[in-house]
Symmetry: C2
Subunit: 341 residues, 2 copies
Amino acid sequence: MVVTIKDVAKLAGVSPGTVSNVFSSNRAVKAELVERVRKAAAELGYEPDRAASQLRAGKARVVAVLLPDLDNPFFTSLVASIEANVRDEGFDIIVASSHGDAVEEARRLSALLAWRPAGLVIVPCSDAFVSRKLVSGGGVPFVVADRVPSHFDGEAVTVDNVGAGTQAAEHLVRLGHRRFVVAASTLRLQNIRDRCEGIEAVLAREGLASPTLIEVGLDFDTASERLGVFMEGEQQATAFIALTNFATLGILASANRSGLSVPRDLSVVGFDDYSWMHAVSPPLTAIRQPVDMMGRVIWSRLRRHIVGRSEPVADERLSCDLVVRASTASPPSVGDALRIA
Amino acid sequence: MVVTIKDVAKLAGVSPGTVSNVFSSNRAVKAELVERVRKAAAELGYEPDRAASQLRAGKARVVAVLLPDLDNPFFTSLVASIEANVRDEGFDIIVASSHGDAVEEARRLSALLAWRPAGLVIVPCSDAFVSRKLVSGGGVPFVVADRVPSHFDGEAVTVDNVGAGTQAAEHLVRLGHRRFVVAASTLRLQNIRDRCEGIEAVLAREGLASPTLIEVGLDFDTASERLGVFMEGEQQATAFIALTNFATLGILASANRSGLSVPRDLSVVGFDDYSWMHAVSPPLTAIRQPVDMMGRVIWSRLRRHIVGRSEPVADERLSCDLVVRASTASPPSVGDALRIA
DNA sequence: GTGAAAGCGCTAACAA
DNA sequence: TTGTTAGCGCTTTCAC
């Protein structure tokens, strides 16, 4: 049998209530008793049962995280960041994946909510966010991350997606590119549409043709296949912008397969920033999302609802930055007569 | 207030016990009552409280996972695989990261164990596995994954590391390479030492010099720095084997920086298999660990202790395979007179 | 500052 | 097959 608060109380010669107070520091306990209790607890290897504690106290120290995919490094690094923030305050993390499916999302959500977590972080599998009622019904504070429905009035943490698109496009325009291809995972996501919008606005302003939009899906295999088909037919575009990490990979893979050289034949701006992007040749120019900051802000928002006190959180969208490396250059036609803005 | 089993019971006109039986299907309930209960529950938005249920029943439906790093794709894909396996049986996953630190590992472990999970999966931060007593003391079934102490007698799931090294070395030897460099994260890990051993055995058998061993650390930045320093001085080695995903990146990055071309100047065999490895140029030859299978086996092992019945699990180590792509070729000296074994 | 006792939401005996 | 009741390990009044 596992050791309980009573065992410790008995060994220390105090009441269970006192042991509880020692561990929760809810009420002051005389130093001498604290000592005795700690010693007894150590001896028995006692650790308070969190399920029991949460049941009685009515307050949990878990936060639930629901993601579309546990194999996507963007999402997992978000988890890593949330975990790092949350643990300092004694919270644990329970994760689940909806595997990109709305029905499964609802199922997993119920399961997570059944733990009565102190808070919930969700990256919905679609920004229709069909599980919304489910969540609000639970009365659990939550924040929606990354994929935020338009006109969403709850807590949301995302990035300045329009700005991200703008930066990528401006960089490429400045290098002299005139024909653009955008590899988007799926246009059904608002954040993706926003990134497109940023790009399109720049091109329009410069009097350039609208970019060719390719929906490449949400995983690597379909991405590289669809882009491969496209590149075989296409000769004109020189500027490729990925709107997602897998789209980045897709562009690279199909350029390789078509024997196209980066950045000589085409320039590519990737999305997200992973180690492999600066290890490969050529190192990739990319739009970096501030994942760490996202985790911090997410927790900050949740925290406000859970424990109350919290540093105030600016409400604006986090901005991405463009990391310029070697996968972007002037297009062939511009040649050495490169105009630098 | 949140809705409880009593509310449902009242609305459905049955006793709380019956409601419990409907949801846990522990005892048969007449179809008609099931119907009524389900309807009432749906109406109220009731979901059984797992903490309460676990407290009373004494059996949990969570498995805890403790990793050294939530930002390492090898570990997170392991989580993804475990999650996919456990969810089918109604289990949830609670994760934590030790951030590669033994003290933190002990702390996080206590926190996880405090949930009284049904099982625990741990990738220790060192294979001294100092937290071992802590775990065994908790009386929770556990399996150690990836980094297994030598002479470990508990449940362990890992890969045939010696064999992995062997495959990589044989491939390179067959191509005609004679001078090897091995980029290992740290030789303090048994699995890494095993991989080295596999490589060394092959070289010895072929009468070749022992490989140069470089400890590159556990993250990308130190890896690429240390390898960079090395490559500046080194001219002779043509065969590079990475023993870790970050080591792979380190080799690539420093080859780039030194202006060395893969596979013309040097061949590289990477470790693990990620999308980016076949998207980049040249696509990487690599040792693939069967991550999916590892997750399945881990759960199978845990399962046996938790629910009892379980398909028998073969006890041998999972084998890796060598995925040959374009980052390996015959070394310059061998030229066209390549001997193919 | 400490102890005694009630009760969080649920399940498992025990009755009926 | 169903209802009643005790109690899982803990926290929190309420006394003292």
